[in-house]
């Protein structure tokens, strides 16, 4: 009984100590408030994955009514006609200089071929250095060309526009679920919140630990009866409390108040999942802290691990699109589970019955990392 009391007392004083130290670090608090509010607001309102006013240049070698009809399809808001050029090489130059995003080349005798029924080509060059936007533009262009060709074909067959409906066609009607307006703001702000949580969950415990190493206070702790666990766990506990406070600020101050994100599932479940995720990721931070000798090194290592964690999380591209071995490696990124779980709770209203796999994965990963950190704790000094 008394042993348990002493154990709890130790845990308490160490956690209180971490919170006190955090509260005295004005610069860090400022950075956290910024990251959990303004940064997420920026991500939600500023970044849009939509094709808007793509600079388009036309190289029309036909100058016919058909070519003009086609050009007319490239209209705002997706496209913005920047002008016409006389030679194809000029298009290449504009693409190189980044002055044009799309170059449309219409070959000579375009109309003639259409009318005579001979196949004709159309060249569309797209700057895909921003791959997402490039892909959008290419898709859009090919849709335009397709429907233009379809219409031209109908005309050639002599089908009157009002009789089109009698043609056999597969109708493509889709419903968007979970985010019916396909609102990027929701997706982006949640994604940024998860990124920020990840960043702080790695950095805060790692830095708290490394700072003790740098100042030599850890030596004093190591000669007290504290176990490695008692030295490390309070840091995670304190930092988890700090991160949950930041998350609350973000959830209600930004996501709900500014962006009206619907919280479809149980917010409590989201907090529980976040807490588990913070523990898992903090374990990684603690492993880093046992390898780093100073704050600079800890920061570098955090950045090095932060990158792959995000790539392997499925935040930027769906897991199904990745090569097989990378998909296997994704099982090692705690963020992968967390993204599943948090989109599930926040947007889909999923309950624990759907998320148990993610929760289990996170728990297993976190337990392993934390054990590794505790195991390294004393050994790193020997």
């Amino acid at each position: 009984m008394t042993a348990l009391l002493v154990w709890l007392r130790r845990l308490r004083v160490m956690t209180v100590k971490e919170l006190l130290q955090f509260s005295r670090d004005g610069a860090l608090i400022l950075f956290m408030v910024y990251a959990f509010t303004f940064d997420i607001y920026l991500a939600g309102s500023g970044v849009h994955f939509e094709l808007k006013s793509a600079a388009t240049v036309i190289h029309d070698s036909d100058r016919s009514s058909a070519s003009r009809e086609l050009i007319d399809q490239f209209r705002p808001p997706s496209f913005r006609i920047e002008g016409t050029i006389e030679r194809g090489a000029e298009g290449t130059r504009l693409l190189d200089e980044g002055k044009a995003m799309v170059v449309l080349d219409i070959p000579p005798r375009f109309q003639e071929s259409l009318l005579s029924g001979a196949p004709t080509d159309l060249q569309i060059r797209v700057d895909a250095s921003n791959s997402v936007l490039g892909l959008f533009a290419a898709n859009f262009c090919s849709r335009i060309a397709e429907s233009f060709g379809f219409q031209a074909g109908l005309k050639r067959l002599g089908v009157a526009p009002d009789r089109v409906k009698y043609l056999p066609r597969v109708r493509n009607a889709y419903r968007v679920w979970f985010n019916p307006n396909q609102n990027d703001t929701w997706f982006m702000s949640i994604a940024e919140l998860l990124n920020i949580i990840t960043l702080f969950a790695i950095l805060l415990p790692a830095c708290a630990m490394v700072r003790e190493k740098e100042r030599g206070t850890v030596e004093q702790l190591l000669v007290t009866p504290l176990t490695s666990f008692q030295i490390m766990f309070p840091k995670v506990l304190a930092m988890a409390a700090v991160i949950l406070a930041g998350t609350t600020m973000s959830l209600f101050g930004v996501l709900r108040y500014c962006f009206h994100v619907p919280f479809r599932g149980s917010i409590l479940l989201f907090y529980a999942v976040t807490l588990l995720y913070v523990f898992t990721t903090a374990g990684l931070g603690l492993v880093i802290s046992t390898l780093a000798r100073n704050l600079g090194q800890a920061g570098m290592m955090a950045i090095i691990t932060y990158g792959p964690m995000i790539f392997l999380s499925g935040a930027w591209s769906p897991p199904e699109a990745m090569p097989r071995f990378i998909r296997t490696m994704m099982l090692l990124s705690p963020l992968h589970y967390y993204i599943d779980a948090s989109y599930g709770v926040l947007l889909k209203g999923a309950g624990i019955n759907l998320l148990w796999r993610s929760i289990l994965g996170m728990g297993a990963l976190g337990g392993t990392l934390f054990t590794l950190g505790v195991w390294r704790m004393r050994r790193q000094f020997e």
Partner: protein, 659 residues
């Protein structure tokens, strides 16, 4: 290089010199003259303003008030500072701080001579000469990082002297060096400076190095408290030192403290500085207070530290502690002493060995510390003291050997040991962003004290550290000496019976150090706390009941300080001080004549000789041959430094040299 007949101006002249860092006054209103070709010393604790002053003289830092002249040139702008820079050499604080660790000895020197635009031919000649004199020639190809501390400092000196400056400024060149290297450094410096007619401004934190200077200035809190030759400063406060030995040390100490302001415990001795009295009168007055039952009572030569503290008192720079040390006792302690009994060894090291890669930091160290004893591990930086302590407290596993703390094996029961000891590490190990009371409560909680006990211990620590009223102050704003007391308090929060202190007083001013030792003394005598302490201050070693001297990872001697000195005196005879008109040459001559332990102290030579009369006769003869006038020969007490140097030399002569 020094132009003769350039005029009578001193090498450096400071008037009302003031340097501020923001609102902090580092140096305020110092007047100082450094004459040509003298070694001028600045002595004072960390933060006294020595470095600031030296950096300003070296032209690498601006200052706020007063005037500064270097070789007659007034330094008031960056341009004027540049104009004298080629006549200056500056060696910053820290071992090898101005050197490049990955470059060899040769490459370091070449870099300095090239950057100072010394013509190649001259540079080669000077390099050869300097390397010879510093005995670094065999190590020319060795990277600087692989040199010992002493060699690094000598190389730093060579690099500083390669452009033959008229004035060298050396900031704490000997801090952290072992006594042998320190002696060697001073000797080399004295000879070089004399030969090249160079002036030197040198700082040190060691009071016992005062005798190395021609003239010196005592620094405290940004002020020069006293200035003059060592003799002049010793005479600045008239008075006499009385030492006594008694059975009832604690009671006698309390009694003496009521009547005298300057009472100190040093091992088994009590030292009283009686101001304004001559020797006889002082002995009489102290005798009256201590009364009967005194084993020994006599006068002794005062040390610079006694004078320093008396001077600070005179100027009102010491805040007197409001209460005597011995009236603070923790009620729980005596009860526990009853329970656990007295006697027996509390700490024991058996053949401890620790390797770091291919380097053996601790090499077969064994010692025993009895209950209630203050045991000192004395040695230079890198001698293996901290490593030995870290193994005993369980921070480092030993490569071989074992140890027992509080009757438990350090290999089998490290956690049980950790619950029973207090430990204070080399660096300040409290949280600077927490307040005094938050730090104490943290450690109280860590050791599992309940609320009532925690409150009781907090009060006790605040009282002991004299920090009552500063509970809510952040520890970063506390002065060095107070911080160390607080760290000691936190190490004592759970009332451990064994204390490990790793260089707790390094960088603390003499008054802070005395207070710290007062507390240790009381813990040891009243509460039977066993204390293992490491230090590189030779003077502090005398506070210990028992001493082990460490050098190169080995223990070279193990006895009480008094015993060590007595043995040295018996083995080699007493210490003779020779006063001549040309000290550097006299030293060479006496060394050649085969005298032992010859070293230079400012204008005096120290040497060890068994028979004073015969030795004096021989000294006269040797010096007369060289046409050096002998002013006086006198007997001096052997110091801890002499003991240390003697043991190390003996060990190295026996081929026990480890690096």
């Amino acid at each position: 290089m020094v132009a003769e007949g350039l005029g009578p101006q001193p090498a450096v002249r400071l008037r009302a010199f003031t340097k501020n860092y923001g609102r902090l006054r580092a140096v305020c209103g110092v007047d100082l003259d450094v004459d040509r070709e003298e070694i001028f010393g600045l002595i004072g604790p960390d933060g006294a303003g020595k470095s600031s002053l030296m950096k300003a003289v070296a032209g690498v830092m601006s200052f706020e008030g007063g005037s500064l002249e270097v070789f007659g040139t007034r330094i008031d702008s960056e341009k004027s500072a540049e104009s004298v820079k080629e006549r200056l050499g500056f060696m910053p604080q820290g071992l090898g701080q101005n050197l490049y660790p990955d470059l060899s000895v040769d490459e370091n020197i070449d870099f300095f001579s090239r950057s100072r635009l010394v013509p190649a031919k001259e540079a080669a000649e000077r390099k050869k000469g300097l390397l010879e004199m510093t005995r670094l020639t065999p190590f020319r190809a060795r990277p600087m990082k692989n040199l010992s501390g002493g060699m690094k400092q000598k190389l730093g000196l060579v690099c500083t002297l390669i452009h033959e400056p008229g004035l060298v400024i050396l900031d704490e060149p000997t801090t952290g060096l072992d006594p042998v290297s320190r002696r060697d450094f001073w000797t080399t410096l004295s000879v070089l400076l004399r030969e090249k007619k160079i002036t030197a401004l040198v700082s040190t934190a060691y009071m016992d190095e005062a005798s190395r200077f021609h003239r010196l200035s005592l620094f405290y809190g940004g002020r020069a408290v006293a200035q003059g030759s060592p003799d002049e400063i010793m005479a600045a406060v008239p008075g006499a030192l009385v030492v006594c030995k008694t059975e009832r040390q604690s009671e006698t100490l309390a009694g003496l403290k009521k009547s005298f302001s300057d009472v100190q415990v040093r091992g088994s001795w009590l030292r009283v500085f009686v101001k304004g009295a001559d020797e006889q009168e002082a002995v009489g007055r102290v005798g009256q207070v201590v009364g009967e039952g005194v084993a020994e009572l006599r006068s002794a030569p005062a040390e610079l530290e006694d004078i320093f503290i008396a001077l600070l008192r005179e100027k009102g720079l010491v805040v007197e502690s409001s209460r005597g040390v011995s009236d603070m006792t923790d009620s729980a302690m005596p009860a526990r002493i009853e329970e656990e009994g007295r006697g027996g060894a509390d700490i024991e090291a058996r053949n401890l060995v620790r390797d770091f890669g291919g380097f053996r930091a601790v090499d077969g160290v064994s010692f025993r510390v009895e209950r209630g004893e203050i045991f000192g591990l004395l040695g230079a930086n890198g001698a293996g003291k901290s490593t030995a302590i870290k193994m005993l407290v369980g921070l480092l596993p030993p490569t071989a050997g074992t140890g027992y703390v509080a009757g438990r094996s350090m290999l089998q029961a490290p956690r049980a040991i950790r619950e029973r000891i207090g430990y204070m590490s080399q660096v300040f190990s409290l949280y600077t962003d927490l307040t005094v009371v938050e730090n104490i409560r943290l450690y109280a909680g860590i050791y599992g004290l309940d609320r009532g006990r925690s409150r009781q211990r907090t009060d006790w620590i605040l009282e002991m550290t004299e920090l009552a009223g500063h509970e809510d102050q952040r520890t970063e704003s506390l002065p060095m000496g107070v911080r160390q007391r607080l760290a000691l308090g936190c190490a004592l929060v759970h009332g451990p019976r064994i204390l490990f202190l790793d260089e707790p007083t390094s960088g603390v001013d003499p008054i802070g150090r005395r207070r710290f030792w007062d507390i240790l003394f009381r813990l040891s005598r009243n509460e039977l706390v066993t204390i293992l302490i490491t230090t590189h201050y030779m003077g502090e070693a005398e506070h210990c009941d028992h001493l082990a001297l460490m050098h190169g990872g080995k223990i070279v001697a193990d006895a009480s300080p008094g015993e060590m000195k007595r043995r040295l005196a018996n083995e080699t005879g007493g210490l003779l001080e020779v006063k001549t008109d040309r000290a550097a040459e006299a030293m060479e001559a006496l060394r050649e004549a085969g005298f032992q332990g010859v070293s230079i102290h400012g204008r005096q030579i120290h040497l060890l000789a068994p028979d004073r009369e015969a030795a004096e006769h021989r000294i006269r003869k040797v010096l007369a041959e060289k046409n050096i006038a002998l002013i006086a020969v006198s007997q001096q007490p052997v110091t801890m430094e002499d003991v240390f140097v003697h043991h190390v030399m003996a060990m190295e002569a026996n081929g026990g040299k480890s690096r």
